[in-house]
């Protein structure tokens, strides 16, 4: 009964999306206030309906209602409660429902909090959001209905894929989807701007916070996915340049570019047309990512044929939204006014350079991801494009970007002074140089690239710190007044500094963990000890253990340093009973920012087992950097200047301490 109710709510939601798709935009075009006013309540009701249907499906999972096909295929009564809950989105249908839920949630946010937007802009934006919602709810209902019943329900379900039975599933997909789908709002704003033929101040002000929100969550989502793969897959890799990873990385690259071009647009009214195009690109790449992952086209071109309805439907949606918005862009972009001139050496110029490299990198990843598919489809030739290719094409594009990064924030708007900018970065450059030399000295000359990488990371980190320090003139006015000025800095200044510092931290982690990782692979008998990076790792023996829905073989290791015990680690190998599927559970010991990583391999009889031990120096910096970046996005969003309604003239505020010279 509850399931049918959920199904009905979803059908009703589809009907409402049609209302939202047509009435508000029609009202905006014939200037009818009443029709435009339909949008906000409809968008909120739509969210409530999809939420109800999501709750109905969740209920079926929690009650292990195996009369629902989706629950039957992906759940098991013995599964821990957390995984019953997260299992809702651990499958195709459920994850698409979560996708749609977040989509309509964003629509409802604009509906509920968009009061200070011009009425017609809000109406058209919500209509565009309605088109996207309609397309994806129809996709759910027509090809991926999570509410399908089975006539003779069996007693037990097929269980969730064991690899997904992890806390990661509770966090990673929702974060990633908020990021992916969050870009739908900037997309809808961009399309609305094209339809209305204008990008006014309100438009410019609204794009940036939404982009920041989506970008911050996408950053966290990608980082979480990376860490999850790192500890779950058992060989300590954290980024594989897998097409599915690329599918989330491309919107991130485009979104990062969008974030920066939106600053130019907001502050200087320049780059409007380009920002509109980037907004379209970013969400298009999100849609493409959804298509790649959801259609199964990635595994092989033939998997596409196993469920053609689904693949073709989502490909149709993709063509409609991407093709439609780009056509609209080609037709209407010339109606948008360009503004704000600037010299090549200026803050704007720096941001254009950022956009150039990010877009080129995005293009390289895009072609690398899709080229094997296209080549296979066109010529039948099969090639592989993997990590070695991406490292070679993507890496060189990032180096100049990172080198130039610290200059951006210290250049002034309109016309910058490169010599003055250099002066402000002397200290950062000196520190980077010294640390790179120390790295050379410490690790010897055989590794040339790694010390340079360390220097680059320090340059980015120190650059963002010195931006803040020189901005408040910390050393010139003394620490007391300096702190007062620090507190008074606008949120977006902190946001920039944190996000840039975070990227430096991530780069440092990548460089050290890749270049200086130590690894030991060997068969160990109980009592054996291996030495790695100053640790003595002793294998005490392995024993079987039973979990709720799996059995496992747990190895017990004692880690000592100079004879003193540091910790005990228990990596294991599990067999999930329902699917008879094996997984490895690595054991990780964190020392400072570095990690000791143990995983078990095959058993060799008489208690011996293959063991793989890694020491990964500073590896956690990779993910810590991402968290710092997301924190930067949050700082920027907290900037009160973003919350001031743009159409009204800005209120006179008492000057912030920064301005009070």
């Amino acid at each position: 009964m509850v399931i049918e109710f959920g199904h009905y709510a979803l059908v009703l939601a589809f009907a409402l999306t049609l209302v939202q798709s047509v009435l508000p935009i029609w009202g905006a075009l014939i200037k009818d206030e009443r029709l435009m006013a339909v949008a906000p309540p409809v968008s909120v009701t739509l969210f409530v309906l999809v939420l109800l249907s999501f709750v109905a499906l969740t209920g079926a999972y929690l009650n292990s209602d195996f009369s629902v096909l989706n629950v039957l295929e992906n759940s098991h009564s013995a599964k821990p409660l957390l995984y019953k809950f997260t299992g809702v989105w651990g499958n195709h249908e459920g994850s698409m429902l979560l996708w749609v839920l977040i989509l309509v949630f964003f629509g409802a946010l604009v509906g509920a909090f968009g009061r200070n937007l011009p009425a017609d802009l809000r109406a058209v934006t919500l209509s565009v959001q309605g088109w996207v919602s309609a397309g994806f709810i129809l996709f759910l209902l027509a090809t991926s209905n999570p509410f399908t019943r089975v006539a003779n329900p069996p007693l037990e379900g097929a269980d969730l894929n064991p690899i997904l039975q992890d806390i990661g599933l509770a966090i990673h997909p929702p974060l990633l989807y908020v990021g992916y789908v969050g870009f739908s709002i900037t997309f809808s704003f961009a399309v609305a701007a094209l339809i209305l033929g204008r990008t006014d101040a309100a438009w410019a002000r609204w794009v940036r916070p939404w982009t920041l929100l989506a970008w911050g969550f996408l950053t966290l989502g990608i980082a979480m996915g990376s860490y999850w793969a790192y500890y779950e897959l058992g060989w300590g890799g954290w980024w594989f340049w897998d097409p599915v990873e690329n599918a989330s990385f491309m919107p991130w690259l485009a979104g990062t570019a969008l974030l920066h071009s939106a600053i130019v647009m907001e502050k200087r009214e320049a780059l409007k047309v380009w920002t509109v195009l980037l907004a379209i690109f970013t969400f298009s790449l999100s849609l493409l990512g959804t298509f790649l992952v959801r259609s199964g086209v990635l595994t092989s071109v033939h998997a596409f044929a196993t469920d053609p309805a689904r693949g073709v439907f989502i490909l149709g949606l993709l063509c409609f939204f991407i093709g439609g918005s780009l056509t609209l862009y080609a037709w209407r972009a010339s109606t948008l006014k360009q503004g704000g001139l600037f010299a090549p050496i200026s803050r704007e110029g720096g941001l254009v350079l950022n956009n150039l490299f990010l877009t080129a990198a995005c293009a390289a990843v895009f072609v690398g991801t899709l080229y094997p598919l296209v080549l296979d489809a066109v010529t039948g030739e099969k090639i592989s494009v993997g990590a070695p290719f991406f490292n070679l094409t993507f890496g060189p594009l990032m180096v100049p970007l990172l080198l130039a990064l610290p200059f951006g924030p210290v250049l002034s708007w309109k016309r910058g002074d490169l010599a003055a900018a250099c002066q402000r970065l002397y200290a950062a450059f000196g520190l980077a140089l010294v640390l790179a030399l120390v790295a050379f000295w410490a690790w010897g000359m055989e590794m040339v690239l790694a010390p340079l990488g360390v220097g680059l990371a320090v340059w980015v980190m120190a650059g963002s710190v010195s931006e803040i320090v020189t901005r408040v003139k910390f050393f010139e006015i003394g620490p007391k007044r300096g702190f007062a000025r620090l507190v008074g800095l606008p949120g977006s200044a902190w946001g920039t500094a944190f996000a840039h510092f975070g990227i430096g931290v991530t780069v440092l982690g990548i460089v050290t963990a890749s270049a200086f990782q130590e690894e030991h692979v060997r068969t160990m008998r109980p009592g054996d000890t291996v030495d790695l990076s100053g640790y003595e790792i002793t294998f005490d023996g392995a024993a079987p253990r039973r979990g709720p829905n799996y059995t496992e073989e747990v190895g017990h290791f004692t880690i000592r340093q100079g004879g003193a015990m540091v910790t005990e680690l228990d990596p294991s190998k599990r067999i999930y009973t329902a699917r008879q599927m094996p997984t490895t559970e690595a054991a990780i010991h964190t020392v400072g920012f570095s990690q000791l990583y143990l995983s078990l391999g095959e058993s060799r009889g008489d208690g011996a087992v293959d063991v793989r031990v890694y020491f990964k120096p500073f590896i956690t910096l990779i993910w810590i950097g991402c968290v710092i970046m997301a924190f930067g996005a949050a700082c920027s969003m907290a900037d009160r200047r973003l919350r001031v309604g743009a159409p009204k003239p800005a209120r006179k505020r008492p000057s912030a301490p920064v301005a009070a010279e």
Partner: protein, 161 residues
């Protein structure tokens, strides 16, 4: 049972279903130099039955066979190129994770640099076009102040300082 697998949330994760340990102790060569070369080569060779995994990362039986094959060739005295050529002749170019530079991969390799170059040209073109557009009616409407007005404004501001 393959469908829920394929469509499960994280395709990349769900397809790597076996515990991955890759190189096993019995495969490792005694000569550390040869073993180092074998590991470096393995990282660039694809496990053909896996999704986007190198034979160095994969635990599939085929990957193990290929790792042993690579080591056999190295022990027999082959150079790195000879090993790769041998594997390509046996399994086709699909085995390479980094495709060779050739006509059919030209677009692939050129994409990044060409995008960068095209962007650079577009930016330079936009910068060069601007002085002409600055004088046009459209640009004046946007910047509101003409150059002459801006000069006068600057002069006025300079005087008051």
């Amino acid at each position: 049972m393959i469908r829920p697998l394929l469509t499960s949330l994280l395709l990349c994760l769900s397809l790597v279903v076996s515990p991955a340990l890759a190189v096993t102790p019995d495969e490792i060569l005694d000569d550390p130099v040869l073993e180092g070369r074998a590991r470096a080569l393995s990282a660039e060779l694809r496990c053909m039955v896996c999704q986007n995994q190198s034979i160095d990362d994969s635990d599939a039986p085929l990957a193990k066979d290929l790792r042993i094959l690579v080591r056999e060739r190295l022990v027999a005295g082959d150079s790195d190129e000879q090993v790769v050529d041998y594997l390509v002749s046996r399994y086709g170019e699909f085995v390479l994770l980094k495709p060779r530079f050739a006509w059919h991969t030209l677009v692939l390799w050129a994409a990044g640099p060409v995008a960068l170059l095209a962007g650079l040209i577009a930016i330079v073109a936009a910068l060069r076009r601007r002085p002409i557009r600055e004088g046009s009616a459209e640009a004046q409407a946007v910047s509101q102040l003409s150059e002459e007005e801006e000069r006068r404004l600057k002069a006025l501001l300079g005087n008051t300082d």
